[in-house]
């Protein structure tokens, strides 16, 4: 085959993307595309896995068997999401163990929302409703992302997510309609999770340096601010319909723009949490590390057992 210049390869690659032809694992791709995707997908995978911790914390204390079964199923789904994503990451040549070690060493990030504690049962409602709701806003457009395995993983994830948000909303709604103390609990959860949920979409567009390239590559289909606005617009009426108040005194409907105007986000808090100074950062990583270390003997034993069985089968 004749030599093709790098420039030509890049042009062909961008052409494919512009025509909405998916990129598959063994296709040629620029190094930066691969690197950016590995970072984005592994962070996404870590978020699914770390995201199990605040909710896992409540499985044994769910108020009844139905709630317990639902929460268990939800958390199990999140483990599955982590797996789809680590697998997608591996198709890019990333070493799975290394990506996990990068999480444990603090080199890799995960969604800052999971560094907030879940201190009441109402938080299970707020997390499903707001955090999964924000995640859905992010993930639905990614079903059309240019990298095939990531897009396919997102299709599976999105199918499963809608139950997550509904079960959370149901929890909040039941509390909001309950005794004054229960309603208070629901409102308190909304107060604590509202702003961190808005932060989930990341820095303002003006501050977000990778957005342009990621949009050109179609590994991001909307800007952070666009997604945040969409989230506010759908969520505020949901809160109102169950009699809860969004904790933002600047929030008001903008007739002319046909959207809500909302108050200023505390970006100082966001960066503090990203940098590791959130309420639960240390604890989350400690628990993840411990799970890996404590599970080592199980992984080794399983491998030894399989090898033994394989050897036997060969002799027989």
């Amino acid at each position: 085959m004749s030599e093709i210049s790098l420039e030509e390869l890049q042009k062909k690659f961008q052409n494919k993307i512009d025509k909405d032809v998916k990129i598959e694992p063994r296709d040629w791709m620029p190094d930066d595309y691969r690197k950016t995707l590995i970072r984005q997908i592994s962070q996404h995978a870590h978020s699914e896995v770390v995201g199990m911790l605040p909710e896992g914390n409540w499985i044994t204390r769910a108020p009844n068997l139905r709630r317990k079964a639902v929460l268990l199923a939800k958390v199990q789904d999140e483990a599955g999401h982590g797996l789809y994503l680590y697998s997608a990451c591996e198709t890019l040549g990333a070493d799975r163990e290394q990506t996990i070690d990068d999480l444990h060493s603090g080199k890799a990030k995960y969604s800052s929302i999971f560094n907030y504690p879940a201190i009441s049962w109402a938080d299970m409602g707020a997390i499903g409703w707001l955090v999964d709701g924000a995640a859905i806003m992010n993930q639905v457009p990614l079903c059309r992302c240019s990298y095939g395995p990531y897009a396919r993983a997102m299709v599976r994830v999105c199918k499963e997510e809608s139950f997550h948000q509904r079960q959370g909303f149901e929890i909040i709604m039941v509390l909001a309609k309950g005794t004054p103390a229960q309603k208070e609990m629901a409102q308190d959860a909304l107060n604590r999770f509202w702003w961190p949920s808005l932060m989930m979409f990341g820095p303002n567009d003006a501050e977000s340096k990778h957005t342009k390239q990621s949009m050109d590559w179609k590994i991001k289909r909307h800007t952070n601010d666009e997604l945040r606005q969409m989230f506010v617009d759908v969520t505020v009426p949901q809160a109102e319909s169950i009699g809860l108040t969004v904790p933002d005194k600047d929030l008001k409907w903008n007739e002319k723009e046909n959207r809500y105007d909302y108050g200023k986000i505390d970006w100082e808090e966001f960066w503090q949490v990203v940098k590791g100074n959130g309420p639960c950062n240390e604890d989350r990583i400690r628990v993840r590390k411990k799970a890996k270390d404590d599970g080592l003997w199980v992984r080794e034993a399983a491998m030894a057992f399989s090898q033994k069985r394989n050897n036997k089968a060969k002799v027989a």
Binding site: L83, Y84, R156, R299
Partner: protein, 96 residues
């Protein structure tokens, strides 16, 4: 830090219902085929998406080369007479 005893990678294929082909749905890591099948059930069929599972160790899978795709599949592109639309049949001929 990554240890050498890492479980191998498996590709997972699911038959959605009787009468359909097994279709590739994704991959997972497992120490052997039995664990791969069990894990595939837990990960890929939690909502009754399947009635049968195949797993193949990824290292046993061989694929065509995407860089050669154009020339590799070219012979089919030029043979339009393999398609029924290539042939003219008068309008008053039916059942064909």
């Amino acid at each position: 830090m990554s240890n050498k005893k890492e479980w191998p990678l498996w590709e997972v294929f699911i038959r959605g219902k009787q009468g359909l082909n097994h279709k590739h749905v994704g991959s997972l890591r497992a120490s052997d085929y039995k664990m791969a099948v069990d894990n595939a059930r837990d990960v890929y069929t939690r909502r009754s998406e399947g009635v049968s599972i195949w797993v193949v160790e990824s290292s046993n899978l061989y694929a065509s080369d995407p860089d050669e795709a154009a020339s590799f599949f070219e012979p089919a592109d030029s043979k339009i007479y393999r398609h029924p639309t290539f042939y003219d049949v008068p309008d008053d001929i039916s059942h064909m």
